[in-house]
């Protein structure tokens, strides 16, 4: 085995948004980065609905704002939900009020083939050594730390850090010596395809994602262009067996039983050719790894954790983790702080972000009361025994309370959210344009906090000022690309 060995500062495995973000922000500090992607871009991916912090925060840090604008992605001012007790959809808008609808109050719906390609080419432009069609076989390391990767062809790349951003099907995530723990609560599967000619919500909501609950689960309806729509059903895993048969019949059956989506697709035709012609399924189980880091290696994006798709968090969590990982690695490579200190910050912030979305998710699913439905009954927090929640959420971290207090927290979140949704009222009404009630609930406040920080960072650059997010935590350096101790 006289393997071909090369060495670099950082190896990033995976060329999706998490990998591209990490790699670019490392290269911006002058480090040598090799990014290994097993496929050749552009390639298909699901997770098409973005949040503003990715577009206006991460996007600006990466320097892709103009390119994203030029790509003419569908503009999304928020999400519309046929969910809960209101029979009419209601809006969760990114702007707190119409008069405060500023230049960062929108996100995009993206064809991931195009979006991911823009980010990957941008990484190369910033000096990242991007190699496509290069599968990684395994991580190389010893008890002290991870020291590089071995490729499928037997050659090795040695590096001070390995970043696993290779997604939910990562083959190397166990290199951090943790295990993937699934939430018993949100073991859903998704079945999805594409349609031409579906209807749109009335302006200015025509670019919104629509999420509609029905007896067997819920459906997403994402306008990707004026005519192309991504349509998916998120259903119980117990349906998995049925989906082995005719997937088209299954998908059309769900559409037929989800009233609002059926109406929107009345005159639409399913795309049957090309990339969008396939009907696909994906396990949408919510999970988190028991650890995200060991010396020399860090997990980013779906390799680390995944949360149910209802809030469009996939790309947000991946690019956010990419930013955190790049800050951490940049700090260590500059010799400014110790590795364990910065990765404590990495893991603390990443888990906090996951936890607040998980709590939001639990409260959100709780709103959809349907005692007849197996799907909804099994996902109501208020029906749950304390232990069911405890096991997973205590692992997620950031919650130090006992079982009872924890379930109490979740119940309160759930009640407050349902109340806020009711006060907000239907979309396209005076009250439905104002998000004060929704943003005022503790769980939504927490969800928005770090996303707001990232947007301010992206827009204001070195003028942005951040307080520590965690107790005794670190703060970003002036350029936002590394960590520093908070000055007192």
């Amino acid at each position: 085995m006289s393997a071909n060995i090369e060495s670099t500062d950082v190896v990033v495995v995976g060329g999706g948004p998490g990998g591209s973000t990490t790699a670019t922000l490392l290269a911006k500090r002058g480090h040598r980065v090799v990014l290994l992607e097993k496929e050749t871009f552009p390639r298909y991916q699901i997770g098409e609905s973005l949040l503003p912090s990715t577009v206006h925060g991460i996007g600006r840090l990466l320097g892709v704002t103009e390119e994203l604008e030029a790509a003419s992605f569908m503009v999304k001012r928020g999400g519309s939900f046929r969910w809960g007790t209101n029979p009419v959809p209601w809006n969760f808008l990114f702007a707190v009020a119409p008069e405060l609808s500023g230049p960062t109050s929108y996100a995009y719906q993206v064809e991931r083939m195009k979006f991911d390609d823009i980010l990957l080419r941008n990484a190369a432009k910033h000096g990242v050594d991007v190699r496509e069609n290069v599968p990684v076989a395994e991580v190389i390391g010893d008890d002290e730390r991870v020291r590089g990767v071995r490729l499928a062809d037997g050659s090795e790349i040695h590096a001070t850090f390995v970043v696993d951003a290779s997604g939910n099907r990562s083959r190397i995530h166990q290199g951090v010596r943790g295990e993937r723990i699934y939430s018993d609560f949100f073991k859903n599967i998704a079945l999805f395809g594409y349609f031409e000619g579906g209807k749109r919500l009335p302006a200015p909501d025509s670019g919104n994602i629509l999420c509609a609950a029905f007896d067997e689960g819920w459906m997403w309806y994402i306008p990707l262009s004026d005519t192309l729509t991504s349509v998916g059903a998120v259903i119980s895993r117990e349906h998995a067996a049925k989906l082995q048969g005719d997937q088209e019949q299954s998908l059309l059956g769900f559409v037929d039983r989800c009233e609002i989506v059926r109406g929107f697709l009345e005159n639409a035709t399913r795309v049957t050719e090309g990339t969008y012609g396939e009907i696909r399924t994906r396990k949408d189980y919510s999970y988190t790894n028991s650890t995200f880091h060991r010396p020399g290696m860090v997990l980013v994006g779906d390799a680390a954790c995944f949360i149910d798709p209802v809030f469009s968090t996939g790309v947000h969590l991946a690019t956010y983790a990419g930013l955190l990982a790049a800050r951490s690695i940049n700090t260590v490579l500059a010799g400014e702080l110790a590795e364990d200190r910065v990765f404590e910050e990495f893991e603390g912030r990443y888990r906090r972000e996951y936890r607040v979305f998980y709590e939001f998710l639990s409260a959100f699913y709780d709103m959809q009361s349907n005692e007849e439905s197996y799907f909804w009954k099994a996902r109501k927090v208020t029906n749950l025994a304390a232990t069911d929640l405890e096991a997973f959420v205590s692992l997620v971290g950031g919650v130090h309370s006992g079982e009872q207090a924890l379930v109490q927290d979740f119940r309160e979140s759930s009640g407050a959210l349902a109340d806020a949704v009711e006060r907000t009222g239907s979309m396209q009404t005076e009250s439905g344009e104002r998000m004060h009630h929704l943003f005022g609930t503790p769980v939504v406040r927490e969800v928005m906090q770090e996303m707001n920080n990232i947007q301010v960072r992206g827009v204001q650059g070195i003028a942005a000022h951040e307080l520590p997010l965690l107790e005794n935590g670190l703060v970003p350096a002036a350029d936002g690309l590394s960590w520093t101790e908070a000055s007192r």
Partner: protein, 77 residues
């Protein structure tokens, strides 16, 4: 170190983020009409939180005038 939170400090911080001269707007002017946007509002909230004013972005957005914010601050003391 930044100055403790006084009415003058609120006025001067607002003037700074709006890139206007202090005194060019009244305490009861709606600052949204003066060009205050959500990002600038968030950065004011962060600044003042550091100085001990525990008002969030949303509290400030409810009634975006210097006078209302001063009342809010006085109420929290």
């Amino acid at each position: 170190m930044t100055a403790p939170l006084s009415l003058d400090r609120l006025r001067s911080d607002v003037a700074e983020v709006l890139a206007e001269e202090p005194g060019s707007f009244a305490d009861d002017d709606n600052l949204i009409d003066r060009g205050l946007d959500s990002i600038r509002l968030m950065s004011l909230a962060t600044r003042w939180r550091e100085a001990g004013f525990e008002a969030g972005y949303l509290d400030l957005a409810q009634d975006p005038t210097v006078a209302a914010w001063w009342n809010l601050l006085e109420g929290k003391r």
